[in-house]
Each structure stands twice: as structure tokens, then as C-alpha cells.
Amino acid sequence: MQEQPAGGPNRTRWTPSGEEQKHTWGWVLQAVTGMLVLLLVTLHMIANHFVVQRGLRDFAAVVAYLSNPLVVVLEVLFLVVVTWHGLLGLRAVLFDFGFSRRVESWITRVLWVVGVAIVFYGLWLTWVIASYH
């Protein structure tokens, strides 16, 4: 499709990025995950700080909390959604720097890896705590 001109100071040609229209959905997802985060972080705050003594769960309280499967589902969902939103947001900020398309696709790949790693870490941690009895 449209080729990007070679990077250089006097770049007066404007051409679109050439990718198909995925960008609408990228942005829509950012908005949707954002709204979900707003909801889930409120629930998370209430559950972890407002319904407990001293405002913070000690170890026993954490184990009790995570023994409820609904709680596990919500917290994992929260982790996925907030990681997605945060890393996509970071990507958006980095892309505003005007790096080359090669650098930009590397950024995307690295952030995917980081995101998946975070979710797996969260799942592992939840499993470790849940198996404490």
C-alpha cells in the first residue's frame, strides 16, 4: 500500500500508516477496558480496604478472600483488564514519540510479552495463595 518515506529531516510527504483499520478497535478497547478498570478498581478497593479491619488484609484475610471463586474470577479479570489498558496506554504514549515503524512493531511485541507474563504471574500467585490452608 502506501510506503513510508525514508526517515529524514525534511519529511514533507504524509502517508497513512498503511495498516488496515484495526485502529478503531484498538481505541474502542482502550475505552472499554478503561471503563471496566474504573468499575473493577472500585470493587477491588472496597473489598480490600473498606470491608476489612485496619483497612488492609493480613495473610489469613487474604487466603479467606481468595477462597471465594467469584473473587478469584473478578481479581483475575481485573488483572487482565488493567494490564491490557495500562500497556496499551504505554504503547500509545510511546507511539506519540514518532519512532520508526520498525521500532514501533518491536515496542508492540515487547509489550505483548510483558502483558502475557504479568497475567501468568498473577495466575501463579493466586494459585499459590489459594493452595495455602
Binding site: E19, Q21, H23, T24, G26, W27, F95, D96, F97
Partner: protein, 257 residues
């Protein structure tokens, strides 16, 4: 030797006893290692505009100051500048309204510099071309221009005087050379609203892009800077609304794209 007066106005009448203002004017000539600021002290009257003052500086104090202007009433888009860090049309910005004894004058940002306060607008115009809308177009009114609704609709885009203040103000144009920018996106929206022979779908698809309508972060600095009520940020949001609608429609098996 008689004084040669500038055509159109009398520079002497812009000076009156009263407060002097310090003008810090951005200076740069091709070949300079770096730009610098030069100071000029000038008395002004209540109605002296920044353009009046700069012209007086050029005529009376420093004839090497490079300056560009044309219509004197903010409709040609030529004299856009950054005055005390804000985008403004120099010809309608009164010095006393700036409420500052020091007036810093710089060229608009994010364009190539020719000299002093004059930028090369080729990059700016190229963006309009990229969306398929020639920046010089035959003036042809829509059929309903006679009706009140038609006139309002018609004048919405024609408001754009292509001054470049919006691109100067946009934080993303400042950092990302590939972002299409508010002026062209506003023009794209107008072309979608009123195609006049252009293919609105092609424009929607072209701007439905990472470097098109989705790069905007709703700072609205462009709409604040615009001297002509184009509201480019509003136009970008409407463009997005239409793009999401089109995507949904095509997903649900509606209109073929």
C-alpha cells in the same frame, strides 16, 4: 527625502506616549547556527496590534526582520505567530490585551523555518493533499446555500483559513511527524459531511488510521488556537464517531465498504 509610508496604515499613528513594551522577537536566518531573540522597545497605542508593532519595528528599527502578512483582518491566515507562548493571529491581537510588558514573538511551531517569523507552509498544505482535498478548490456553493441551514453548513469548513495555528498548538504534531494533524482531519470531516465530488468512504478509510483520527488525545489545544471557529478537535471526534459506526455496520453485514 520624504518618509515612505507603508501602504494601508500609518506606522506613526501606532506610537503614542505611554507605556513602552519590550518585544522579544525570534530571529533566525538561513546559515545561522542557532536562532536567538532580539529586543525592541516600542510605545504602543490602545489599538496597536502585534502586527502593527512588528511592522513598525521592521520599518523603523530593523529592516532585516522577515515578516509575513496580508489582509489585516484574520481571514487570509498568513500572519499566524506564537505570541507569549500562545498561538495567535498577529493582525487582530492587540498588544495591550496581552496584559504583559514583555511580548515574546515566535514563528508558529512544527513547521520548517524560512527566516525570522516566517515558516514554510508546504508541510502543512501537503497534509490536505494527503486526504485528497486540494487546498485550492473551486468555490462552488452547495445547492442549498440560499437557505439558513445551508449557509451555516456551507460556511463551517470555509471557516478554515489554513493558518497553521492548530498544528502549532497540537502536542502530538509537536512530537510525531507522522500524525496527520487537526487541520487536515477537520478538512476530512468536512469532506465526509459534504463530499462535493470526493469519495467520502475513501476519506473515512484513509483517516481511520493510527496516524489519522486515532492519534488525537483530546487536548483540544487546536480548537482553542483556531481563530476561525473550525473546532478541529470536534471534527476529529465526529470523524471517529462515523468511523466506529461504519466499522460496526460493515461488521454486522451492512453497507459494503
Amino acid at each position: 527625502m520624504t518618509d515612505v509610508m507603508d501602504p494601508g496604515f500609518d506606522t506613526h499613528s501606532t506610537e503614542a506616549p505611554g507605556r513602552p513594551f519590550r518585544f522579544r522577537v525570534f530571529r533566525y536566518k538561513q546559515g545561522d547556527r542557532a536562532p536567538h531573540f532580539e529586543e525592541f522597545s516600542l510605545h504602543v497605542a490602545e489599538d496597536t496590534t502585534v502586527l502593527d508593532a512588528l511592522t513598525a519595528i521592521r520599518n523603523r528599527l530593523d529592516p532585516t526582520l522577515v515578516l509575513r502578512h496580508s489582509c489585516f483582518h484574520a481571514s487570509c491566515g498568513t500572519c499566524g505567530l506564537r505570541v507569549n507562548d500562545r498561538e495567535a493571529m498577529a493582525c487582530v491581537t492587540k498588544v495591550v490585551d496581552l496584559k504583559s510588558p514583555v511580548i515574546k514573538v515566535e514563528p508558529i511551531a512544527n513547521q520548517a523555518l524560512v527566516a525570522d517569523l516566517v515558516t514554510d507552509m508546504v508541510d502543512f498544505y501537503a497534509r490536505f493533499n494527503a486526504i485528497g482535498r486540494a487546498f485550492v478548490q473551486a468555490v462552488a456553493g452547495p445547492p442549498d446555500a440560499a437557505t439558513p441551514e445551508g449557509v451555516g453548513h456551507y460556511s463551517r469548513f470555509e471557516n478554515c483559513i489554513e493558518c497553521g495555528l492548530c498544528l502549532s498548538a497540537c502536542p502530538i504534531v509537536a512530537s510525531d511527524p507522522r500524525y496527520l494533524g487537526p487541520a487536515a482531519l477537520a478538512a476530512a470531516w468536512r469532506a465526509v459531511e459534504e463530499p462535493r465530488g470526493l469519495d467520502p468512504n475513501a476519506i473515512l478509510q484513509l483517516t481511520d488510521d493510527e496516524q489519522g483520527s486515532w492519534r488525537c488525545h483530546a487536548a483540544f489545544e487546536c480548537s482553542e488556537a483556531c481563530p476561525a471557529n473550525v473546532d478541529p478537535a470536534g471534527a476529529i471526534m465526529l470523524l471517529r464517531q462515523r468511523q466506529v459506526g461504519e466499522q460496526l455496520r460493515s461488521m454486522l453485514g451492512g453497507r459494503r465498504r
